[in-house]
Subunit: 246 residues, 2 copies
Amino acid sequence: MFESVKERRTVRKYLQKDISEDLLNDLLETSCRTATVGNMQVYSIVVTRDAGMKEKLAPAHFNQPMVKQASVVLTFCTDFHRFSQWCRERNAEPGYDNLLSFLNAATDALLVAQTFCTLAEEAGLGTCYLGTAIYNPQQIIDVLGLPELVFPVITVTLGYPDEHPAQVDRLPLEAVVHTEHYHSFSPEDIDRLYHTKESLPENKQYVAENKKETLAQVFTDVRYTKRVNEALSANLLEILKKQKFL
Amino acid sequence: MFESVKERRTVRKYLQKDISEDLLNDLLETSCRTATVGNMQVYSIVVTRDAGMKEKLAPAHFNQPMVKQASVVLTFCTDFHRFSQWCRERNAEPGYDNLLSFLNAATDALLVAQTFCTLAEEAGLGTCYLGTAIYNPQQIIDVLGLPELVFPVITVTLGYPDEHPAQVDRLPLEAVVHTEHYHSFSPEDIDRLYHTKESLPENKQYVAENKKETLAQVFTDVRYTKRVNEALSANLLEILKKQKFL
């Protein structure tokens, strides 16, 4: 397993080959062994195989082609709806319409999602995470019919790989691991830690294509801008309120 | 690997046996292959081995004994601090002081944490998640010295197992997996889906010990009460603001 994780790459192109019900169910069943807060399992996974449903989900993910091409699309959601229903039908008053409960449930959903992807990749499947699930949550809520206290936190597209892309770079371990205390970096540290990333031909090309001076500017000015982040944050707050988590 | 995940249980008692630097680094390095939003790696992992530091962290986790007993304690954090520093030192204006960025970074941190735990368990180690990281974030921020845009999202205690507890129950797959659309459950569905859980001798004992009528009441009245959830949610909002994510 170490090997399949070490060799991991995101796969965005898939063969037109079905994933059997048995394999998918085995992956899902095994993933549910993942740790969960208080053994409440406050998550749900919506499985999309139907071409018409993929078509409806695609715009929420900015029409990234993986959504329609993948054999299976999985939407991992917080779910305090089922748990609260169980409580009410057992003479117990649920109190899970708040931010802590949202984060507890989002944690559950994300941990299960990652176990699922690790297992799926070990089984020879390719996966791609779509963070766009929290960019356009209302569209996903509408298409999948998610009730109160259910909120999409991440989407995974899944299929047999039809590409074997180069592995992308990672920062040196010292950039992300801190011993005993969080340590701040000097400008020289930052230069050293980001040197390889900034030197890669594909990243230099990326800067040139976007007509920017630095790779960081591609992130701040093009890919993840303050303006868009703030607009999406305001939207997130609104939909979290609508789904009764705030 | 399927087997180690299928056989997984949370381990809370550990042998007094060191985890080698080589093994820990290999686990961390491999975990960093996990998918990350825009390849930004907006997370950090703080490694605690020092007994004095474990002592200081313990109260934030309500003095659960795993914190002091574990060979290693890992605090997985959102981290837009390092990324924002890189941006500023590259003539780029970061815009990551908002809720969307917090959730993106929390997603990064949680996915890495779960890969780490899956790998650690495959390597024969035992793990326990402590969700208390978001219950008392300020204490953790103080002890570990976390700067703005760094926020603890989950803690993992790690060690060689000194127990082999029974596996806990899980709901049937049909409780958490929905096909094409989210489906609502009838009261009879809920009865069926929760029947096994409610029938377990340990859960019946749990209800009796807590002098409650139903298992659900143990959750709503004792373990995860509305009052505490709301107080912790207010605290979370405050500390998220202090760390500049809101």
